[in-house]
Symmetry: D2
């Protein structure tokens, strides 16, 4: 395999990128000045020196010169320490924080557990989550909220996390984000599962 082909393969692993666009990215690299290409390569290699994984929630954050090993959210003791919301990816946290309706803690599981590929389990931070929960229960954690996508892989991931946490002392509650009609939904166009959830979760 040529270097060009290898580079295209790397770009095909970028989120949301198919073969054709990966190829265009490779051509883009070829049009860069040598100095630009070197800077890009350098940033890719050294990003981790600056951006580190939070030892609490496991999201990435820019250290900005400080020596903190925890992100701004995990460091903030004004946040509600009784709730921990488990999400798939860093970008889920961004979306939730933009909304401003959640004030508890987070944990980034690092992906989903596909229904048909249990080997992926090794890539998830299941043990990390158990440790984090244990640790946080000392400072008042009482609820773990599962915030995965509403699709088969998301549901499978929820079952996996529930199993992980099932033998816990009674005072830990595991909850799921509410299901139902989302903004803009009309009954006429809603799918049967959403209608079912909307009916069950009426209030």
């Amino acid at each position: 395999m040529t270097k060009l082909d290898k580079l295209i393969k790397h770009f095909e692993c970028f989120p949301g990128i198919g073969g054709r666009q990966a190829r265009r990215f490779a051509f883009h690299i070829l049009t860069l000045q040598q100095a630009e290409a070197s800077e890009l390569a350098d940033l890719i290699t050294n990003l981790r020196g600056e951006v580190v994984e939070c030892i609490g929630c496991r999201r990435f954050f820019a250290r900005n010169g400080s020596q903190s090993t925890q992100c701004r959210i995990c460091d903030d003791f004004n946040r509600d320490q009784s709730k921990l919301l488990v999400v798939e990816r860093d970008s889920d946290i961004d979306a939730i924080e933009r909304g401003g309706s959640y004030d508890g803690l987070y944990f980034v599981l690092g992906g989903t557990l596909p229904l048909l590929n249990s080997k992926e389990q090794a890539k998830l931070r299941g043990n990390g989550l158990k440790r984090r929960v244990e640790e946080k229960m000392l400072s008042g954690l009482s609820e773990v909220i599962l915030g995965f996508a509403v699709n088969p892989d998301g549901e499978n991931t929820a079952r996996y996390v529930e199993t992980l946490l099932q033998d816990w002392p009674k005072k830990l509650t595991v909850t799921h984000l509410g299901r139902g009609l989302s903004t803009g939904s009309e009954l006429e166009y809603a799918d049967p599962d959403t209608i079912k959830n909307a009916l069950e979760n009426r209030s």
Copy 2:
């Protein structure tokens, strides 16, 4: 205004049809054989002879020769008589029945109450709903479920129906369909209100 323009205006009132498509419909009418055009006109004029409004839920149903004044659902006493789901349109009922997760009764309000146009209120079957609720409470109705779209007009309609039913004897509960993540939702792409509802309605 010419007949052509008038016909286009009529077609522009068809659900989901804009000016350009209304014009194409009018041209389509011109290409029909005279016999086809007459049959279509005849069906439009006489549809109500055959399809009647159910005196219970107010949806339209084909009589099919019977003399019943109630639709199949309102006629079926095996359905749960304690619940009444209020919807905007007939087609909402179709969608819910396809899902098969609801076993109670329905009422078609006949539209929504737009936020900025309170005159529309006269077109809704508010009084009809009050009478239906009163009537059904005699046979065990205890809950009215509001099933409107999750948008400003839908919310306004819900407030209107709540007001209508607010001075009711205590045993009537008014509920709303559950809000939250619908099938296929991913947190990263969810809007703030949906995230808020999903968090509030966690279980």
Copy 3:
């Protein structure tokens, strides 16, 4: 079949309308006041009294009280009488006139000849076109331009019209609209046929 089902079938023949929307149209009819439904039915039945088919180009036009049997375009002797553009539908003429770059005459064939359904041929105005061409050659017609869609049915229709006109005296030229890159095209995303045409028709 009930009247409701028959009406839905009629609506399914409307251009661009599928089963679900046809059903919504039928429900819409049921919500009309009797007077509105009657007016709509009346317009459908009587539209042809007012809108007539031009005896020249065969498009529909609103008579507006006049007794003319020809449309405004066919009636206008300032237009270039040497060119006749054959199109599928009335709405094609609207689009071309909006553009303002054509000054000749038109003929509406009334549809396309599908590749796999030669029976459709009977529905097209093939003989009408022949007569119109013959007639117009007396007043200087020298070119028939074929303006069908660039797809298999459009191409098949072009072959059919060419055959119709092939035994004509030599002074009649049959041309096709130019093929190539359309507005907004980028080579990278163009299909092979478009690239081929763009190369062949370079100038």
Copy 4:
């Protein structure tokens, strides 16, 4: 600016990538193993050692161990040496070659000349094109075909190249790719310019 922000800026320069996806790419980099990140960085830095710019058409090609300074197309004397097709990007050549309807030579200009930013001119290979044309006229080049996008920037680029080549000895012809209806076009939905071009380029 942090390294993270700088990296996001780099990704925002990738073709077709906006701020949100650039951010996701940066997070993707953070999830790579150190070895993967290093390989990616290495490929970005060293791609040019292997992939070189053809001295003829200026596209990039993988050398595959050979010492050739020209790509497969420029090296192939069975191709028609009388035509040179000037395109914006390498990927345009890929698209044309897939179609198989062109047998001449190419030249990659390296971009377009935006209508409102004449400074971009310095980035284009205008002088390179002049030299290539001069060179190739010795071996029979007689036509330069301009193959730019059908949009304002593409048109402006065509004018720029025409000016570049205008004082050439008479035997050089500059042509443009044909404009008109592209595959799938229907007259009814075509824009006025496309209709105009289709009418002008009829044949």
